[in-house]
C-alpha cells in the first residue's frame, strides 16, 4: 500500500501461506497482519518449542525467544525444536536454528537469559503479544505484571504430568484501571500457591505430547488474536468485556477437555485495578521480589 507494489506479498509467500490464506477467518488481510506483527515467546521448552514452530510457520514477522537455559538430554522427549546434536547449546540458539529452517522469512531475536524484573520492560516492550511458556509461579506473576503495565495480551499455558491449562489474559489489553480490560494473572490468582505445593516438570513429570498440545493451542490463540486485529487496544468506550475462559486438558479424563469461565478484572487487583500501585519503575527498581512473594529461594536463580 502506497509503495507502488501490485501484490502485497511475494510469489514465494503466496505459495508458502496459500493453504492458510484461503481459510475464511484468515484471508490476505490476516496474512498481512501476521507479517507485520511481533510475538515474544518466554521459555523455549516444552510449551515454547511447539508454539514457536507453528507461529514461525504461519508467517509472523518477528519472533523473540527468551530462555537462559541450555539443551539437556532430558528435554528432548518434549522440546521438539532441540535435538541430540544441540545438547549443550543455548536453547534460544538451538530453537532459532530450527525455526530458520522452517521459515527463513521471519526475523528471529534471541534473548539468552531468564526474564527478570530488571529486563522485563525492555524485552516485553519490543513485541505486540506475549506467550508465557515458563515453568514457575514467580515468572508467571512477573510476566503478567509486565504485560499489564505495557498493555500486551498474554497467552499463558502450563502443563504437568497428563494435565494442561490455557488462559488468554489481559485481553482486551486496556490500561490498568479500565474495567473493560481482560483479567490479569493476579486477578485469577491473587495469592501465589505455597511453594511446597508447586511441582516442576522435573519433579512431577510430564508426558511430552500433553505439553505439546498446550503449546500448539497457544499458537492457535496467537494467530487468531493477530488476524482478528485484537493486539491493538481498541477504543475502550466501544468495548463490551467478553468473559475470559480457561481451557483444562486432562489426557486421562473423560471428556479430555473442559472450558471454564473466569472472573473479570478484580476491583482490588494489585496490578490492573484503578487503585493498583504497580508501576514500571517499581519493577525496574527492584522493589518487587517475585521469588520472595512466591516463597522461593534463592531469588535470583528462579526468575
Amino acid at each position: 500500500q502506497g509503495t507502488g507494489q501490485k501484490w502485497p506479498l511475494s510469489a514465494e509467500e503466496y505459495k508458502r501461506y496459500g493453504r492458510q490464506m484461503i481459510v475464511p477467518s484468515i484471508g490476505i488481510l490476516g496474512q498481512l497482519r501476521l507479517k507485520s506483527s511481533s510475538v515474544l515467546i518466554i521459555g523455549a521448552g516444552g510449551l515454547g518449542c511447539p508454539a514457536a514452530a507453528y507461529i514461525a510457520g504461519a508467517g509472523v514477522g518477528k519472533i523473540g525467544l527468551v530462555d537462559g537455559d541450555t539443551v539437556e538430554v532430558s528435554n528432548l522427549h518434549r522440546q521438539i525444536l532441540h535435538s541430540t546434536c544441540t545438547v549443550g547449546m543455548r536453547k534460544v540458539d538451538s530453537a532459532i536454528c530450527f525455526l530458520k529452517s522452517i521459515n527463513p522469512n521471519a526475523t528471529y531475536v534471541a534473548h539468552p537469559w531468564h526474564i527478570s524484573p530488571e529486563n522485563a520492560q525492555e524485552i516485553v516492550g519490543g513485541y505486540d503479544l506475549v506467550l508465557d511458556c515458563t515453568d514457575n509461579p514467580a515468572s508467571r506473576y512477573l510476566i503478567s505484571d509486565a504485560c499489564v503495565l505495557l498493555s500486551k495480551i498474554l497467552i499463558s499455558a502450563s502443563a504437568l504430568r497428563t494435565d494442561g491449562q490455557l488462559i488468554v489474559l489481559n485481553s482486551p489489553p486496556l490500561p490498568p484501571g479500565n474495567v473493560a480490560g481482560g483479567p490479569c494473572y493476579r486477578c485469577v490468582f491473587p495469592k501465589p500457591p505455597p511453594a511446597e505445593s508447586v511441582l516442576t516438570c522435573g519433579e512431577g513429570g510430564i508426558l511430552g505430547p500433553v505439553v505439546g498440545v498446550m503449546g500448539v493451542l497457544q499458537a492457535v490463540e496467537t494467530i487468531e488474536i493477530i488476524v482478528q486485529g485484537k493486539i491493538t487496544p481498541p477504543d475502550s468506550t466501544q468495548i463490551v468485556a467478553s468473559p475470559t475462559n480457561m481451557v483444562l486438558y486432562s489426557a486421562l479424563g473423560t471428556p479430555p477437555f473442559r472450558s471454564v469461565r473466569l472472573r473479570p478484572r478484580r476491583p482490588d487487583c494489585f496490578a490492573c485495578s484503578p487503585d493498583a500501585t504497580l508501576r514500571l519503575e517499581s519493577l525496574k527498581g527492584g522493589s518487587l521480589d517475585y521469588a520472595l512473594f512466591c516463597g522461593l529461594m534463592p531469588a535470583v536463580n528462579i526468575l
Binding site: 508467571r140 494435565d163 490468582f189 501465589p192 505455597p194 505445593s197 516442576t200 483444562l248 471454564v260
Partner: protein, 107 residues
C-alpha cells in the same frame, strides 16, 4: 420433615488434586440439604466436608489453608469461577457440579 433431605452433587478434582482424594477425579456425593444449624449447605460447608470426610490423605494443608481453600486452587461452580457465584456462601443446588482445579506451573 420425616426423612433428612439430601442434595446430590458431583465433585471433581483436577490438576493433581485428585491425588489427595484416592486418585479419583469424579466423586458423586449425596450431602444433607441443611447444616447443623438448619441453614442450607454452602460450598464453604462442602469444602470442610470434603476435607474431613472424603479426603484420606493426611496433607490437609494441600487443600485447605487457614480455613480457606489454599491459594493456587480455583473453585468452579457449574464451570464458572465461584467468585461469580458468591464464593463460599453459594448455597448448593441439586445436581451442581463443583470442580477444584490446582493451577499448574510446568512448561
Amino acid at each position: 420433615m420425616a426423612a433428612e433431605e439430601i442434595i446430590p452433587v458431583v465433585v471433581e478434582f483436577t490438576g493433581g488434586l485428585e491425588m489427595l482424594f484416592a486418585d479419583q477425579r469424579k466423586h458423586t456425593l449425596a450431602v444433607p440439604a441443611k447444616d447443623e444449624e438448619g441453614k442450607p449447605v454452602t460450598v464453604g460447608w462442602l469444602v470442610n466436608y470434603l476435607c474431613e470426610k472424603v479426603m484420606k490423605d493426611s496433607r490437609k494443608e494441600m487443600f485447605v489453608l487457614d480455613g480457606h481453600v489454599r491459594p493456587g486452587i480455583l473453585v468452579l461452580i457449574n464451570d464458572a469461577d465461584w467468585e461469580l457465584e458468591g464464593e463460599a456462601s453459594y448455597a448448593l443446588q441439586p445436581k451442581d457440579n463443583i470442580l477444584f482445579v490446582s493451577t499448574l506451573h510446568g512448561g
